[in-house]
């Protein structure tokens, strides 16, 4: 039986790297006495698969992993979540668990098609334009207007680093949605404790497919150069909202 678990990662635990999060969950599952299936051999290990790794320093409200339970194990969603959450450190919390068919297609990593993010900025690091949208020069308009103009482009060519080299890529097809937004005081307070952010932020839904994974930082960098904004890399704060699978997924259980 395969269970898909959705979890959040916030606060100081954003500094825990992907491999360590995997090891963390393996231990938590043992502590919670969840009947996880184990591989055969001299060093048995859990059969787990994590969806797209989240970089160190990023927070998320939509992370996923799949876990195989022992044959004959009974899955009770409430009980499963209660037991697992009792073992969570402050900053990681399991928000949902569903049973999914345990066929080969359901390997978390390969299934992810898109990811949504909110990108905000350290307070006072970016000089935002404040002119009215009527201004003809896009370089002087408000970010909200600049985003609209940016998205009307047919192609957005960027130099993208791949494992082997750098190549010119059109990232426009990979951007499903991109909008400027103003964070409310409540949303601002959701940032980790020692981080202060500007209300000016952006939301985006971008491709996360293997080979077509658009990093939110790259989109922001591309947008900044289009809009004539100076955005230092160290000012960027990334929060992953969620991960999405292809909608025509035959299993019916998308990542979400």
């Amino acid at each position: 039986m395969r269970i898909r678990v959705k979890f959040t990662k916030t606060g100081p635990l954003k500094f825990i790297g992907h491999l360590d999060v995997m090891r963390y969950f393996q231990k938590a599952i043992r502590r919670a006495d969840i009947p996880a299936a184990l591989s055969e051999g001299f060093s048995p290990h859990m059969i787990m698969s994590f969806a797209q790794p989240l970089g160190v320093g990023k927070t998320s409200s939509g992370e996923y992993f799949d876990l195989d339970l022992k044959e004959g194990a009974i899955f009770d969603r409430e009980d499963f979540l209660r037991r697992l959450n009792a073992e969570m450190a402050d900053g990681i919390s399991c928000v949902n668990a569903v049973e999914i068919p345990s066929n080969k297609k359901n390997k978390g990593m390969s299934q992810v098609a898109a990811a949504s993010y909110v990108v905000s900025f350290r307070k006072g690091r970016v000089q935002w334009n404040s002119l009215k949208p009527e201004e003809m020069d896009v370089n002087k308009q408000k970010p909200s207007a600049q985003v609209v103009a940016f998205m009307t482009q047919e192609h957005i060519m960027v130099l993208r680093k791949t494992k082997k080299s750098e190549e010119e890529t059109d990232i426009r097809p990979w951007i499903m949605d991109f909008q400027a937004l103003t964070l409310t005081p409540a949303q601002l307070a959701e940032h980790p404790q020692n981080v202060e952010a500007d209300p000016q932020a952006f939301s985006m839904l971008v491709s996360a497919k293997s080979g077509q994974n658009l990093k939110p930082e790259l989109l922001i960098k591309t947008f900044a150069s289009y809009a004539g904004l100076e955005i230092p890399e160290s000012a960027v704060l990334v929060h992953r909202m969620d991960l999405y699978a292809e909608s025509e997924n035959e299993s019916g259980a998308n990542v979400h």
Binding site: L13, F15, G17, R30, R31, A89, R122
Partner: protein, 622 residues
């Protein structure tokens, strides 16, 4: 939730920020207002090394069981963060509360190896605590040292308010009770230190002074205050079953060097190897009951979620209930999908059978701590293993399917001749031949692979070799090269890989191990010139240390290469670690004569530890 001490952007700019954020599973957070004593426990090396240390986990648990004490942890910031903290004047902080160390009542530093001495100064410096105990004020934390290196605390004596000689389980309640008087303002810091010096096992260096002869040897070591004791007696826990042991060890996020549950099965060792300090200072050997450990194993595996457990002791094969314990563990771990990692066991039929059950033999290698190549040298060092035992163990292992063998040797042992050194190569060759002579081709699991490595012998205090000279580095290197050449002359040379350790790190270790108070100037000078993480080859800088010795007018070889007479006053003579000087002299003489001494279980050799009233000394002998 406590705020982090380091700014978000600093954490993102350094390697492995997880080292500095605390919040690990099973770490203890208390309310500051509810405790009267705040204790910062430090291992002066990087987080992953420090978190692997069992002693801190034991004391952390013991202190935090006390209602009015909150014990937290602190490790050496890696050089990347070290630079940032210095540049921006950020004080060193404890992991749990993220509060500055300088606001704590105690800073306890465990000193496990000599090469961390510069890191001790880094900890004090970054904490903004004066390096010298005599410069500290009423509000500075009490800096207390413990661990094996404190059996000769003199080279670092100036930096500590006190040392705890022995195992931490015994006198901390007394020390804390006295400290509350200081905290209430009843007594001053100096008076606290004076009275603390009266607690058994506590050494307060500032109440003692050393003077030197013209030839540089120690002339006298005396008290400056008549109320402090002349001798400091080692403290140990006699009943390990009732001694505190953590049910819930702290589980790091980052992979630590020791990433598993550690079950301590006994302390001390019956063997009496003459080079081994641990084998002397942790006497008498004391065992935990298998029953108690079975409970502990279960509790710790449940509370941590680790999928691996390992046994800790100096010589697990000598544990009298090993069979019972392993039978339980194999069954329990098999049912729960937990791996067992076995410590160095003597290679015999029993241990091979156990390893067969818990390891993939195709991947695992067998380790022989032979220590010396020739039987004569093994007798000199009292390493109770014979060539026959090695060959038999190897043969049985080969028959059981193993074909990877590791050997550990030392070079520079007292009384070592060229033929002893070359025997290292010959022994490796004989083991290789044993494989090809006895294992038929069709049963071989590939070629044999033998890895032999030599370290440079460093004489340690409270061992029979404490009077022995250490080789000069060029002599050691010559010996290592001869072994290497001799290996190349063997028939099976292609199956033997030989490596040897750096010479200079060992020389420094030798100086620190048997140094006196004057060495503290060298350590401070080297630290001021950038010495840090000397245990890490990429940071060790031989020249920096050579310059420090030169500028302090001290010769490192005075401390390492000189033969000490048995009537010389040694810097650590004021410590009573249980084994008597008479015993050590006797063992030194027997070593020179090449005579072995039986282990404690076979026959008592009157080392002096019977006075502790328990352990192996009182075990029913058959």
């Amino acid at each position: 939730m406590q705020k982090l001490a380091l700014d978000d952007e600093i954490l993102l700019s350094i390697e492995k920020p997880e080292r500095y954020i605390g919040r690990e599973v099973n770490s203890v957070v208390k309310n500051k207002a509810d405790v009267s004593i705040r204790f910062a426990m430090c291992f002066p090396d990087v987080y992953e090394i420090g978190m692997s240390h069992l002693g801190i986990q034991i004391l952390y648990d013991m202190f935090n069981r006390m209602d009015d004490v909150w014990c937290e942890r602190v490790y050496s910031p890696w050089p990347d963060l070290d630079h940032i903290m210095r540049d921006r004047n950020i004080p060193l902080f404890a992991l749990e509360s993220q509060d500055p160390i300088r606001d704590f009542d105690f800073l306890g530093i465990t000193i496990q190896y000599e090469m961390c001495y510069a890191n001790i100064l880094q900890i004090l410096d970054l904490s903004q605590i004066p390096l010298h105990a005599e410069d500290r004020g009423e509000d500075d934390p009490i800096v207390i040292g413990g661990g094996p290196c404190t059996y000769n605390p003199e080279p670092i004596a100036d930096f500590f308010d006190m040392f705890y000689i022995g195992e931490g389980e015994t006198v901390y309640p007394q020390l804390f009770a006295l400290y509350r008087k200081k905290k209430n303002g009843e007594i001053s810091r100096r008076e606290f230190l004076r009275q603390a010096a009266g607690i058994e096992g506590i050494y307060v260096p500032q109440f003692y002074q050393a003077s030197y002869n013209e030839d540089g040897t120690l002339a006298s070591f005396t008290r400056t205050d008549p109320t402090v004791p002349e001798k400091i007696t080692k403290q140990i826990a006699m009943d390990l079953d009732s001694a505190p042991y953590p049910d819930k060890p702290v589980v790091p996020y980052i992979q630590a060097t020791q990433d598993r549950v550690v079950l301590e099965i006994m302390r001390g060792c019956i063997r009496g190897c003459r080079f081994c300090q641990a084998g002397m200072i942790y006497r008498p050997q004391r065992e935990k009951s298998a029953e108690r450990m079975e409970q502990q194993a279960e509790k710790m595996l449940r509370s941590t979620g680790y999928d691996e457990i390992s046994l800790s002791s100096l010589s697990s094969s000598d544990y009298s209930q090993l069979n019972e314990l392993l039978t339980f563990l194999i069954e329990y771990c098999d049912a729960h999908g937990v791996n067992i990692s076995l410590p160095s066991l003597r290679i015999d039929a029993f241990s091979l059978d156990v390893m067969n059950k818990v390891q993939d033999i195709k991947k695992s290698s067998l380790t022989f701590a032979a220590e010396a190549g020739s039987q004569r040298m093994r007798d000199v060092i009292n390493k109770g293993i014979t060539e026959d035992e090695i060959m038999n163990g190897a043969l049985q292992a080969f028959r059981g399917g193993w074909n990877k063998v590791k050997f550990y040797f030392m070079l520079g042992l007292p009384g070592e001749h060229e033929e002893d050194v070359l025997e290292i190569a010959h022994l490796c060759e004989r083991v290789a031949e044993c494989y090809y002579d006895n294992i038929p081709k069709e049963k071989r699991n590939g070629k044999i692979s033998i890895t032999a490595s030599s370290s440079f012998f460093v004489p340690k205090p409270f061992t029979p070799f404490q009077w022995a000279p250490m080789d000069r580095p060029e002599v050691y290197l010559d010996k290592a090269h001869s072994v290497k050449d001799e290996v190349r002359r063997q028939l099976n040379q292609k199956s033997i890989r030989y490596t040897y350790h750096d010479a200079w790190v060992s020389i420094l270790e030798g100086v620190f191990a048997r140094g006196d108070r004057r060495i503290s100037r060298v350590i401070e000078t080297a630290y001021r010139n950038g010495a840090l993480f000397d245990a890490w080859t990429e940071y060790f800088d031989r020249e920096r240390w050579e310059k420090a010795f030169a500028s302090c007018g001290l010769d490192p070889y005075f401390y390492t290469a000189r033969t000490r007479e048995t009537d010389e006053l040694l810097p650590w003579d004021f410590i009573d670690c249980g084994v008597s000087r008479k015993f050590l002299v006797r063992e030194w003489e027997r070593a020179k004569a090449g005579v072995t001494t039986p282990n404690c279980r076979a026959q008592c050799s009157g080392c002096g530890c019977r006075g502790y009233g328990g352990g192996i000394c009182y075990e029913n002998k058959s």
